[in-house]
Subunit: 187 residues, 2 copies
DNA sequence: TAACCCATGTAACCTGTTACATGATTAA
DNA sequence: TTAATCATGTAACAGGTTACATGGGTTA
């Protein structure tokens, strides 16, 4: 039930076409909600039918036309109402933790390799969040809108730092010498 | 695709009935994977058809019979193989972050109330993880199996601490005086 | 010449949620 | 007597993934 709201939120911050939305949802640029292009096009059709968004066809030469979506007043109110509602915290569903819960069944060397792969991915994700945050922080003046973007990104950074610290603890437990790092700081 | 493995893992650590599995999956006792009873019964039927688990009917007086499930050798190998495979880190999908990404659209007072509700839930979750961890830590001798359980729980604790610290940052940003806490420690 | 980008969609399938169903036992 | 616990399931639906489809333009 969250995807339509996530789309409304994205379009509020920056109206665009379905194709561009897909990129924003998946190029890890923006977002804490993923969706395939099929899902997004379908949700856009529904949102338009419900008159929460409107579209304008933009004719283009040498490439397909695009539909440019903007949020309607009704859509804005719908989103605004949802934002104020309390909700449930995200359930932590992790392959990795299921795997480690039966770690005693598997040779340590195998576990180390598997864990290392997750570790690298978390460090990569952290870099991405930090890079995007930097772009906002470097702006001479930040709007309140931008300040909220930074706040959200800092949540992502904190999550990744927590995972990274835990991976290091786990690698240590498994007997892997871990490179000594400076105490984590979220900047 | 993870649920069947999560079930195999749970049954490896402690064989039981479907009904008991449901409790272990949802009473936050054990697990970093949730599932409804409908899903679990269905998955159990499939796992049994694939001969990854076997069942024995236990006759009971004054209450319905139960099916007691145990992992077969084939199931054990299937699980073991999966544990060694590298996988993708969990996508962070958060209602709360979508809401905050359009925080500028909503009155601060409304945001504060909404955020407070998420904050309380994270603190509650943390308490649960800490209580379960304590039970393991207090044991006079911990098996390697138990040590892995503690490791997994510590991941949950770190995640909740990260969320809690971020909620406090967000409340601070919104102008809410936050009770001063000792620097977070995962114990 | 092959692969990828632009741009939008349909169809089949699998996963997960909600509602419905049964029926005895026990606690408030 | 109302509700909850025990114990297992079916059926309908919503959410999400994978595969298929089109067709010109650009890059290697």
């Amino acid at each position: 039930m969250t995807l339509p709201y996530a789309i409304l939120a994205a379009l509020m911050n920056q109206p665009c076409s379905g194709y561009d939305l897909v990129k924003r949802f998946n190029k890890s640029v923006e977002c804490f909600w993923s969706a395939s292009h099929q899902q997004i096009y379908k949700a856009l059709a529904k949102l338009e039918a419900d008159e929460h968004i409107g579209s304008e066809v933009i004719e283009q030469e040498n490439r397909p036309n695009k539909k440019f979506y903007t949020v309607t007043e009704a859509g804005r109110q719908h989103l605004q109402q949802w934002v104020g509602e309390p909700g449930d915290i995200a359930m932590l569903k992790s392959d990795l933790l299921i795997k480690l819960s039966v770690g005693h069944m598997v040779p340590t060397e195998t576990l180390l390799q598997m864990l290392q792969s997750y570790y690298e991915q978390h460090k990569e994700k952290l870099k991405i969040y930090q890079a995007i945050t930097k772009q906002y922080v470097q702006l001479p003046e930040r709007s309140r809108e931008d300040q909220f973007q930074v706040l959200v990104l800092r949540a992502g950074i904190r999550q990744q730092l927590a995972w990274i610290a835990w991976c290091e603890e786990a690698l240590g437990f498994l007997g892997q010498p871990v490179t000594v790092r400076e105490p984590s700081s979220i900047g």
